[in-house]
């Protein structure tokens, strides 16, 4: 995979959870009920997607073609 392609994948796959955090898509999560794990749905929604984001970044790092690049100056 080339570097440019990775940047594209990185940006797009993290844009998705971000868009779920803001309007118009946040309206999906914007409700007090049902409660999940003791949390109102809106709060659960935000925390849930932050955890998913964390997992996505972990995965992206694994496929990063340059993650072991040594500095060449």
């Amino acid at each position: 995979m080339t570097k440019q392609k990775f940047v594209k994948i990185y940006s797009l796959s993290l844009l998705v959870p971000f868009l779920l955090m803001v309007y118009p898509l946040f309206s999906l999560g914007n409700r007090a009920t049902p409660f999940v794990l003791g949390l109102p749905f809106s709060i659960f929604w935000v925390i849930f997607w932050i955890i998913i984001t964390f997992i996505i970044v972990l995965f992206l790092y694994r496929i990063d073609p340059d993650k072991d690049e040594e500095e060449v100056n």
Binding site: S11, P17, F18, P24, F35, I50, Y61
Partner: protein, 489 residues
């Protein structure tokens, strides 16, 4: 021994340890090296880096302001954890690139970065001045937090001016002597302390007031319908305001010079790994929001001066907690404020020296530059202290305006990284107009079009001008522009 005495002893003990760590970290390093002072030799490790970036987010705002938002506004407080989790993500891509450009051209600031690319002294000087004013505002907020904590936890025995002087004085000393490395290692200590304290104290408060978290929320949704939602009857913020607040904080985050410049302080791999574990910091903030929610319907907002006082008020007045909890919370809040204040003081001095002083008085040796930066730490500290203690309405408005203007750096920075067509006059005009628009809607206008955040309104004008003016000011090919675009991509 009274509770306030235990608290005071713990907080002073904390300050002493913070000073010790800061000074020790800077020891044995080359004191005459500009590179050591500005970017810690470019070799900070992952552990330190993580806390350095995290400490900057955990500020007095998160410790006092986040519970305040949750208490007074409900669901809109979720914007805080949302932007904390997402704002760091672009750094994975742009951080290594900025770092490479910096190492190649010996750059350690935002103003240096833009000056090189756009070959414009005016731009660098503008960035230097805006950063200075914005940083002083930021510092004044932190200092107010520190002084306030000292005051309330010792039940008024340590006056406002002394609390601010004590805690911020220590920051100034270790930053001026040890530079970035000292700030970084104190942030590690302070970061760990804050995380432990926010979880233990946060959950204790919720349990004492409501029994458990689910119980708290079910009471809250019954008694205040709409409080935990956005843009419905009973909620405190419109969808547009919520969305644009998140956007402006997310875009602006990395434009803050103290975060931007960390790209120079380490290698690409450490930057990537820092981003990797960073969203966890957002989760650390959750208990602080819960503290705010737990106080709704328990405390009447007329009982406290401002919502930001809710956490200390709960601890000292409402709950019967032992003195050592006072001390812990005091130390945690001090740590939050100090770990932000050290990074800001450091970067404000760097930006102003590099962007402004060096362009007014050229041919400064690196030894003289270093000396000016060290002295700058004291001057900036003094200015911020003066403003915190004595105030002054006109001045505060000016600083607030600058604070909101940091996000206006974004078009110039991203264009430098990814476009070779954008020109200096375009970026300068965009920056000035964006700043003025932001200033107008933040401080002068009564209402905003469509309830859009002032910073975003400024940014829209800024981007439009950058594109428009670039299209007819391009005269010749700039080799450096092509080089910036090519490095690391």
């Amino acid at each position: 021994m009274g509770q306030w005495q235990i608290a005071m002893i713990m907080m002073i003990g904390y300050l002493f340890v913070a000073l010790l760590i800061g000074v020790l970290a800077g020891r044995k390093q080359d004191k005459s090296s500009l590179e050591e002072f500005t970017v810690a030799g470019g070799n900070l490790g992952l552990f330190v880096m993580w806390f350095l970036m995290g400490g900057a987010v955990f500020s007095a705002f998160s410790f006092l302001g986040a519970p305040g938002w949750a208490f007074s506004r409900g669901a809109p407080a979720l914007y805080i954890i949302t932007y904390t989790a997402f704002a760091i993500l672009p750094w994975y891509i742009i951080g290594p690139k900025i770092g490479k450009i910096g190492r190649k051209h010996n750059i350690y600031t935002v103003s240096g970065f833009l000056q090189k690319r756009y070959t414009s002294r005016i731009l660098a000087m503008l960035i230097g001045i805006i950063t200075l004013l914005a940083s002083i505002q930021y510092l004044a907020t932190q200092m107010k937090g520190m002084a306030y904590i000292f005051n309330i936890m010792t039940e008024g025995r340590i006056p406002f001016w002394l609390g601010a002087l004590l805690s911020y004085g220590i920051v100034v000393v270790y930053v001026a002597t040890g530079g970035l490395r000292a700030a970084a290692w104190s942030d590690v200590f302070q970061g760990i302390l804050m995380i432990v304290i926010s979880w233990t104290v946060g959950l204790t408060i919720v349990n004492q007031l409501h029994g458990s978290i689910p119980e708290m929320f079910s009471n809250l949704t019954k008694s205040n319908p709409g409080f935990l939602e956005i843009g419905v009857e009973g909620s405190t913020m419109s969808p547009m305001a919520y969305t644009t607040t998140i956007l402006v904080s997310t875009i602006g985050f990395l434009m803050w010079p103290h975060l931007f410049s960390k790209s120079y302080a380490t290698n690409a791999r450490t930057i990537k790994k820092t981003v990797l574990v960073y969203p966890v910091f957002a989760l650390f903030l959750i208990p602080l929001l819960f503290v705010g929610f737990s106080a709704v319907n328990v405390i009447d907002s007329s009982q406290i001066g401002s919502p930001d006082e809710i956490l200390p008020f709960l601890i000292t007045t409402v709950l019967s907690l032992p003195g050592w909890v006072y001390g812990l919370v005091g130390a945690g809040a001090l740590a939050a404020a100090m770990s932000t204040a050290d990074a800001i003081t450091h970067s404000a001095s760097l930006e102003f020296t590099d962007g402004f002083v060096r362009n007014v008085k050229k041919d400064l040796s690196s030894k003289a530059t270093l000396l000016i930066m060290r002295i700058g730490v004291f001057i900036i500290g003094g200015l911020a202290y003066f403003i915190t203690v004595f105030g002054g309405q006109g001045l505060i408005a000016l600083l607030l305006g600058a604070y909101g203007s940091i996000v206006q750096f974004a078009p110039g920075v991203y264009a430098a990284l990814y476009s070779k067509r954008v020109t200096a006059p375009a970026v300068i005009t965009g920056l000035i107009v964006g700043t003025l628009v932001n200033y107008y809607f933040q401080l002068v206008a009564e209402t905003r079009p469509l309830d859009i955040d002032a910073g975003i309104l400024g940014l829209i004008c800024n981007v439009a001008l950058v594109i428009l003016i670039s299209s007819f000011t391009q005269v010749k090919e700039l080799p450096i522009a092509e080089e910036y675009r090519k490095i690391g991509s």
